[in-house]
């Protein structure tokens, strides 16, 4: 089977002679090229974010996009006279996306060459490909979830949060509390799994195990009494973040094996990973089970390593590890914790199933 191409998470558009039919600074009445509006709207519906890198006067070009009714589709527009490679870099940094998930489209070969020279991971397209992008596999996510269709709105809510945080003068935790965060942990059903699939594909940064679980594998595990598949959603006063996390837990009587923990990089700054771990530790403590987390260090999941260690996980050996499924990959470490009861999160409300109680019922049988 051929490798699937990395899905483009953000497409950066040039404006003059790519989005519209001319040079705005010479002709203020330029109009959209045929098919551009449809392409932008279709990509947006698929959850591909879009931005702008244009050498123009900001107010003039942005005003024209507003007049054309397209401005709302673009996040973090970079309209200035600087190099386009700088513009693309800024967009990737603001979105916290890897450059390999960014695409750039421009009519000028020199601009594409400039971006390609400085940022070889960015995929570049010529303007005459604009209306056929939606037919390319890298712009065609296999599953388009409710969250994908609302991704841009969720990001835009995210920018308002960031702006508020910049203006917030006070303790870190007080800011988090001011967001009215609500985390909902639930057992996954078939519908949730399409979101989970997307999350584990997209958020390699916070996929702590570094091990990919396919949709099919997770679906099988849904029905397995020895496993719990849980999804996590987050909401705050600015709106929903959608599905932001997934856990796969292998449950034995004396030890719970956390095989997969992925959280979206969108919610890293809210400490969602730590809140999840804290909840899990408390559940395991109630069940009287040790916790073992599979962790494969990569250059992108350092934060998850720190989250595990700060939660109390260590590399110390324990007999309980011997009874677990063998690891497929010898680069995966097993971090261990003897859980104790934990206080609930101070920064958000958490709703969740009672894993410990449910498991006790399952293992001991119903009376």
């Amino acid at each position: 089977m051929a490798d699937k191409p990395t899905i483009v998470k953000c497409l950066v558009w040039d404006l003059d002679n790519t989005v519209w039919n001319g040079t705005l600074s010479e002709d203020p009445s330029v109009e959209l090229l045929p098919g551009i509006r449809e392409a932008v709207i279709e990509l947006d519906a698929r959850g591909v974010l879009q931005s702008v890198a244009s050498k123009n006067d900001f107010d003039l070009a942005w005003g024209h996009l507003e007049k054309l009714g397209l401005a709302e589709y673009f996040v973090h527009p970079q309209i200035s006279w600087g190099p386009k490679s700088d513009a693309v870099t800024t967009i990737a940094e603001r979105l916290n996306f890897a450059l390999s998930t960014i695409a750039f489209i421009d009519d000028l070969p020199t601009e594409r060459a400039e971006v390609n020279y400085h940022l070889p991971e960015v995929r570049c397209y010529a303007f005459d490909q604009a209306t056929s992008l939606t037919g390319l596999p890298e712009f065609s996510p296999e599953v388009v979830t409710v969250d994908a269709r609302r991704r841009r709105e969720m990001y835009q809510a995210g920018f308002r949060r960031d702006a508020e945080k910049d203006n917030f003068k006070g303790a870190d935790e007080d800011f988090l509390r001011s967001l009215d965060l609500v985390m909902a942990i639930k057992r996954a059903d078939e519908d949730d799994l399409s979101r989970v699939e997307e999350l584990t594909l997209r958020t390699s940064q916070m996929n702590a195990t570094g091990v990919h679980y396919s949709d099919a594998t997770l679906r099988e595990l849904l029905a397995d009494p020895g496993h719990e598949v849980l999804t996590v959603t987050l909401t705050d006063k600015f709106g929903p973040h959608g599905a932001v996390g997934v856990l796969l837990l292998g449950c034995h009587r004396d030890v719970w094996n956390l095989k997969l923990l992925a959280t979206s990089c969108r919610v890293v700054t809210f400490g969602a990973g730590s809140v999840l771990l804290n909840w899990l530790i408390d559940q395991a403590a109630q069940a009287g089970a040790h916790l073992v987390a599979d962790f494969k260090p990569t250059d992108r999941n350092r934060m998850m390593d720190i989250a595990y260690r700060f939660a109390g996980f260590t590399g110390d050996p324990c007999d309980c590890v011997g009874g677990l499924d063998p690891l497929a990959d010898d680069r995966v470490q097993r971090l261990h914790l003897v859980p104790e009861r934990r206080d609930g999160a101070t920064t958000m409300q958490v709703s969740s199933p009672e894993l410990a109680a449910d498991l006790a019922l399952r293992v001991n049988g119903v009376a």
Partner: protein, 96 residues
Amino acid sequence: MTAESTTSAATAETIRHELLGFLAERIKTTVEPEQDLFSSGLVSSMFAMQLVVHLEEAYDIAIVGPDLKLDSFRTVESMTALVLRLKDADDPAGDA
């Protein structure tokens, strides 16, 4: 290298001073060296992670394994001690 000689000159006093300045800027509050940053809610667990990255970059150290304990980051004093210990280990005696 110049950068190395600058950082290896770090003493408890300079580290403490730099950390207090970093915290004042980032959490917009003045803290005491012995103040518990977590129990007072001044920093979240997320910010504690940023502290790890900050210390590593500022002092050219790697904080890994057993050193990655929340307790090591609880106060400015405990972070200062951690940096000094890791810099010592990294910089064996006699290495001029």
